[in-house]
């Protein structure tokens, strides 16, 4: 799966979890860019990412991402 495809799939997950159709994420997107992205929705987001990609993150991993790009790196690493 290529980065672009992963970001598209992630975007759908963001839209569902945040319940905001206007969300459009990029590699550089951070929680500061999305109003609904707080500590509670972050956990939900990660759980949905795990379900969608069939992977597991440690609690430590999910707290260390600084932006969507780092999320994508983790997904690629887990899928390879």
């Amino acid at each position: 799966m290529e980065r672009k495809e992963i970001i598209e799939k992630l975007n759908d997950i963001f839209i569902d979890v945040m319940d905001n159709d206007e969300i459009s994420i990029a590699e550089s997107t951070t929680s500061n860019d999305i109003e609904e992205w707080d500590s509670l929705t972050h956990v939900h987001l990660v759980v949905e990412i795990q379900r969608a990609f069939g992977i597991n993150f440690s609690a430590k991993e999910m707290m260390n991402w600084n932006n969507v790009g780092e999320m994508v790196d983790s997904i690629i690493q887990k899928k390879s």
Binding site: D19, L40, H44, V47, Q50, N56
Partner: protein, 230 residues
Amino acid sequence: MHFLHEKIRNFKHSFDQNKENRRHQKFEEQAASLFKLCTKKSIIVLSSDCVGGRLMYDYRLPVYTPTVNNWYSDDGFLKICENPIEYFKMPLILNGERDKKGNFIGLLGDIVCHLGHEADPEKALKKWNRGCKQFFRAIKGNYEICVIMNDRNHFNDSFIKRFEALPYKNKVLFTHIPHPEAPHTFYMEGEDSLPYVKTMTLYENIFSTKRRYDRFDFYHWFYNMLNEDI
């Protein structure tokens, strides 16, 4: 004088922050073990006040309910628990009114909802609607509804029967006096002389990292729920 107040406030803030960090270090391992399980099952927590939201934060569990961070009269909360599907389908009406604590008030059918921790009514409504959608999404899969309540908000003894009759296996009602006849109540020792339990989210004392609701073993409660039928 102003300088002194500022200094005290800063000290209190960093003291509280430090305490919160130490608390979360203690939760780290437990949160990690729950997190491993929560892709397989969704735990829907219906909580009568902020305890639900705090627990989700403590244990890093996803929120599948609009009730998080809000509070209700005990009668209203029981009505929601008795029929969450009907109530979460209803529109929440906000007219800009606030309660004494400054929380926005919303009307959900015949229930008054106090929407906590939100300064903007539009955002409070959005959060509520998002919670409802997550609830309906969660109940399409493998899920478990659990209820956390206390006797703080216009409680009377007839509510104990209603609480015990709720169709959920996992429920806990914190009370200021013991109710041995009701198996799902949890007596908060030492509060018999009060009219109801003290705020559940408070720390046990100024130096403790334990909150009052930690007297109940929520970790194993959630752990067992997540492990059932997997």
